[in-house]
Symmetry: C2
DNA sequence: CAGTGGTCTAGACCACTGA
DNA sequence: CAGTGGTCTAGACCACTGA
């Protein structure tokens, strides 16, 4: 496949920056020079540099020129694992075990009162994620029935509800909260560990425009699960993350 | 300040998508129609839609047209807090307490053997983060002395080493690992909690091109700290995150 | 005040792909 | 095979700002 010229210019400079050949603060050639170097019009050069600027790799200042950005980090890119895919990628068997599944007209249980607005019918799911038959995570989920009518007919033996939703439901925004918690008594029983075991807890609310679609809380055994985030300057994903699942066997 | 036309077109459609007025799968007008609507040239329309496409909000297919994207999440944007800033933003006093600070020619301690390549001189720091005088996190850090010669003269009373490095050292890539751990005995003593308390552990390696700059491990009290991530389709930050620090008082 | 980037035009030819 | 987006040109005028 033939590469567009603006894309070649862009990736030329991206690799020079990522390799360290161009370091933060270094000056790039002015557009006029790049036109000559690449034998193209100014718009083509401008498109390439505009993309780098939008990605935060360079900073452009009138009259002064174009420079490699000094990174300021306020965010990074966190890879979201597909649980089933991850486990299978490690050559283990993945299994989702449905523990409970009910539809409710009333508001959510007190514990989850802020999860979804209580005015809508919702489906509540509890389940357990297993790798090679050993549980490594618990899932509590609420789904807005109005937003996802087909959810009740879904089958979760091969793919967990999260994967199913991701592939069947459009959404526009999500908020995730990551924290460490000590497992309580029921959780410990389901996970087969001592009460108070350190767990990584991930809570997420997903919306389609202003409609709440689903809320989920995942509780992972602390010594069985990691999240990995990579970033270059200003949130640009720099490299590929490897498998977030560390040592499921250690469970 | 006068807004560029391509930017106005871009934000017009972004808000229509985020508000739900345009939903995933909906078709956008073709470029020719948009030229007429906005009274501009095709390049201007193309630049606006190109930006939305690069952000993953729309999908463009030849002959078929332009459509609102069905989000596929493989990543999300995680806000990186500046600890001192966060704490002070809550009206509490922030303090970093240096517990140890030494320079070493030999390799890192066995525990951290993979942290930085042992061939270089490095500075090792141990410290404690406090909010209103109460410890809420521990920090272990290695710094490549060759990459950051000024580090030894830095003062960490007002700003922790992480903030100092962020503002003084250029870097190009970082990798972060997030997990839950149970505090060990020395950690528990320093944090003033029982051994085995659930903690959120963040490990990060930062590089400038291929040179390792610093490695850090932060251990937060689980009930004192959250991370929050927001995302729109395909990793686009959708909304602002609020303060990641939940209830420092609860320590 | 001159150098640099920001934006825009009015075209053009091409590549893809779905009706 | 025709509609749509992808890319590119050779200009233009302007806005900013640092030498």
């Amino acid at each position: 496949m033939k590469q567009a010229l603006h894309e070649r210019i862009r990736s030329d400079f991206e690799s020079r920056i990522r390799s360290g050949q161009l370091q933060p603060g270094d000056k790039l050639p002015i557009e006029l020079d790049l036109m000559a170097q690449y034998g193209c019009s100014r718009m083509t050069v401008n498109k390439a540099l505009g993309a780098l600027s939008a990605a935060g790799l360079i900073v452009r200042r009138k009259r002064a020129g174009t420079f490699v950005a000094r990174p300021r980090v306020h965010s990074m890119v966190l890879d979201i694992p597909d649980l089933a895919e991850q486990i299978r990628g490690r050559g283990q068997t993945y299994q989702f075990e449905l523990l409970s599944h009910c539809t409710s007209d009333s508001g959510p249980s007190p514990k989850e009162d802020k999860a979804l607005s209580s005015s809508c019918r919702h489906i509540a799911i509890e389940g357990r994620h297993k790798a090679d038959g050993v549980p490594f995570a618990l899932e509590s989920r609420l789904v807005n029935e109005a937003a996802v009518p087909e959810f009740n007919n879904a089958d979760f033996t091969d793919n967990p509800p999260g994967s199913w939703l991701l592939h069947h439901v459009p959404w526009t925004a999500a908020e995730t909260r990551i924290s460490a918690v000590a497992s309580d008594e029921p959780q410990s029983r389901l996970l087969g560990v001592a009460t108070g075991t350190a767990c990584l807890q991930i809570e997420r609310r997903t919306r389609l425009a202003s409609t709440e679609v689903t809320w989920v809380r995942l509780v992972f055994l602390g010594d069985a699960y990691d999240l990995i985030a990579n970033f270059g300057p200003d949130g640009t994903p720099a490299g590929g993350a490897e498998n977030p699942v560390r040592n499921i066997q250690a469970v």
